[in-house]
Structure formats: C-alpha cells, structure tokens
Symmetry: C2
Subunit: 242 residues, 2 copies
C-alpha cells in the first residue's frame, strides 16, 4: 500500500492552474458559475491531489467545501481497526462538504491525479446568501448525491455478490469500443479489484471470482489496466437484481 497520506494540508497549491476562474472547465456545471467570481477568486484555494494522496479531516478543522475540477477521487470511510468502505466518488463538477470537528470518519483519496478548489464553508455560506442561484445548484447536487447513496445502501444491504458486481458494471462499465448508448461512464472509472471490493462491501477475491465468472459467461471481457468491457448489457442488467 505505502499510502501517501498527509494531514489536511497537503497536495501543493496548484501553480499550473490559472489564478482566475476564466476558462475553468467546470464553470458551466458547477455552483461557482452563478457566484461572484471576483469574490470567490480570493477565497478559494486551488490544489492538486496526486494519485493516492489523501485529505483527511483532522480534529479542529473548520468545515470546508471541496469543489472537484478534474480527475477522480473516492470518499473513504474507515473504522478504527482499519476496515474501509468507499462511500462514493466525485468527479468534475461534483462537490463535497466536510463537516467541522473531523467527527466524520471520512477521507478523500485521489484516483489518479485530481484538481480541486477548497473553500471555507462558513465563509462560502455567507456569500451564497446573496446568490440563491448558486445555492440552488448546490441543493440540486446534494439531492443527486442523496439518491446515489440511497441506491448504494440498497446494494450493500440486500444484494448478493453477483448482483453487486453486476450493478456496478451496469453503472460504470466500459463498452468494447465507442458508445453503445448506455450509462455514460462517469470518468472511465478504472479501479483496482481491491477498490471495487471496497466499494461493494466484498473481498477482493470474491470480486475477482465473480468477474472471471462473468467473463466465462461472455457477459464481459477483461482488458489490461483494470479495464472491464461490457459485452452484453442486457444479460448483465438481468443479473443486477433490479
């Protein structure tokens, strides 16, 4: 593992990123679209998170809003004895609010390289009072996050290993080439078996077994570099339990 983890202040400030928000790729889909940019500009802190770097929410930290610009991160919940559960993912245009106190045992870990903007949540909240449009966007995205979590709860609580893996693939799997029209893979999600297991509440071995089983049945093809190609969406869909 040799995880490159640091406490809270980490991932150097992003010198490469433009100092202003002009040309920022997530402007059209993020809440900051509606905000007074010249205000935000001096309140945010841009940063880059390299592969496996982690933001852990330490005690006494004030609440923050993380706004993700590019790349992909996973939200990880941890128990004292080291068991972990991936609670979800965040990509460009998504955000995450980390509560104060660090009583949330949640951390943010980059999958590959990720860029993000950090805001002091209390201060941002004040600003938002005068930007209902921006707040409305946040509320809408919160709602999406809630729905995603609710669905995931159902998966974790009630589905078998086969169903769990199938559900994941239908949401995030790649097609052999091009479109196939199905559920746009949010970010070409390339996870290790261990991460997959961690997301689905399984062991890596079980994930591996189910995947090879699916491959034998011709539903998917296993490529190199964690790529998983879905060959038969319909058949796979019938295995999700939905």
């Amino acid at each position: 593992m040799a995880s490159a983890s640091t406490e809270c202040v980490l991932g150097k400030k992003d010198a490469a990123q433009p100092p202003d928000c002009i040309g920022c790729p997530i402007q059209p889909i993020s809440f900051c679209r509606e905000s007074d940019i010249s205000n935000l500009r001096y309140r945010r802190q841009q940063m880059i998170l390299n592969d496996r770097e982690t933001i852990t929410c330490a005690r006494g930290t004030p609440a923050e809003l993380l706004n993700f610009v590019s790349g992909l991160v996973k939200l990880v919940g941890t128990l004292p004895d080291g068991r972990t559960q991936i609670l979800g993912f965040r990509g460009p245009g998504d955000f995450l609010i980390i509560g104060e106190d660090g009583k949330q045992a949640i951390s943010v870990e980059a999958v590959g390289t990720a860029r993000l903007c950090r805001f002091s949540w209390p201060r941002l909240q004040q600003l938002l009072q005068e930007r209902p449009q921006a707040m409305a966007i946040l509320l809408g995205k919160s709602q999406e996050q809630l729905e995603e979590l609710q669905e995931h709860l159902l998966v974790l609580g009630r589905k078998s290993a086969r169903e769990k893996v199938a559900s994941f693939l239908v949401r995030y799997g790649l097609t052999r080439r091009g479109v196939q029209g199905q559920c746009p893979p949010r970010a070409q999600l390339l996870l290790t078996r261990a991460e997959l297991a961690d997301y689905l509440g399984l062991s890596t071995e079980t994930v591996s077994r189910v995947l090879t089983q699916f491959a034998k049945e011709g539903l998917i093809a296993l490529g190199r570099a964690q790529a998983i190609y879905v060959l038969d969406w319909e058949q796979l869909g019938s295995q999700t339990g939905n």
Copy 2:
C-alpha cells in the same frame, strides 16, 4: 404483513390540522420558518399517514417535497423480487425530496401515525429563490442526511451482525428511565425485529439472536412492546466497531 399500501394519493387530507401554519410545532426548526407563510399556506397539502400507510412514488409523478410534522416514517427501498432495505428515518422537522418519474424505488411508510406537508418541488423551488434563508436550512439538513447515510453505508458494508446491532442501539436505544445523557432517542424509535433487520441488512432471526445475546451479557434489557433498554452504554459502545 397485510400492508396498507396505496398509490401516491393516500392518507386523507388532514382536517384536524390547523389551516394556517400558526402554532405548527416544527416552525422553529423547519425551512418553512423562513418562508413567506401566506404563500406556502396555499401551496402545501397537509396529510396524515396512519400506521403502515405508504406513499409510493408512482411513474409520472412530479417531484415533491415532503415535510414531516409529527410522528415517524421510514424510507424503504425495494427490489423487484421483494427484498427491502430501510434507508433511513424521518421525524418532525425532517424533509424528503422525492424525484420525478418514480425512478427512485423509494417509498415512505409511517411507523405509527405521522403528519406531514406535501409541496410540489418545482413550485417550491421557485419560491425559495427569494428566500435564501430557507434554502440554506434545506441545504444544511441535506448535509446532515448525507452524513447519516454515509455512516450507515459503512455499517452495512463492513460491520458484523453484532456490531450492526450495537451501533443501532447506541444511536437509538432507550435508557431504563430518564436521561442518562446519551444520544437522545430521536423519537422513541420502537421498531419490530423485522424492521430492525431491514434497517441493518440482516434477517430477523439474526437480530433476535444478537439481542438476546446482549441481554444475557447484561448490556441491555428487553422490555415489552419492542422497547430495548440500554443498561451499559460504555460496554455496548465498545461493541460497535467504532
């Protein structure tokens, strides 16, 4: 079971409830505090949900916001084959947004008698644009809901049966009498073993076994009418896995 379920329009309109919002018990803690009451008054639909009555989100229904006034409801996710998972609870001052389309396989079921107000979400959203304070409250509560779900995910994904039950009790258990200072039982949560199992992703038998085990160990006492009294918070806390 003989579940009293109906489609969407159900639970008669509440004649007993006062037509205006004056004296409403949740005013101080709900978003409607900040809203233009005379506007809301004519846009909401009050209703009572009797024990086990259900609101299911049918196809083609427009999005709604349910604001819970009194009593307790559970949010239930269902798979086509009938497996269910309780996704959470809502009590006075809580709300729930049900998306359009009914593509969310989520339903709301009363545990005992519950009162609530229904709003058309699109219309309410418009109103909220002029009430940033109210929107801020919604956003804050959304955040709480998210944190609750994230914690629950960790429980479902990674904890053993013993740990699951212990975690639940520490959150929601009663004390033998009076205060004991601990986590205020949100609503004297009195659930059947089946509901408990449904919340924790277990079978009723397993829940029962773990509970009697805890009772034998002197950590809890089992009362009548589903009451579970926690005798030793500390010991129980050490069994939660946290």
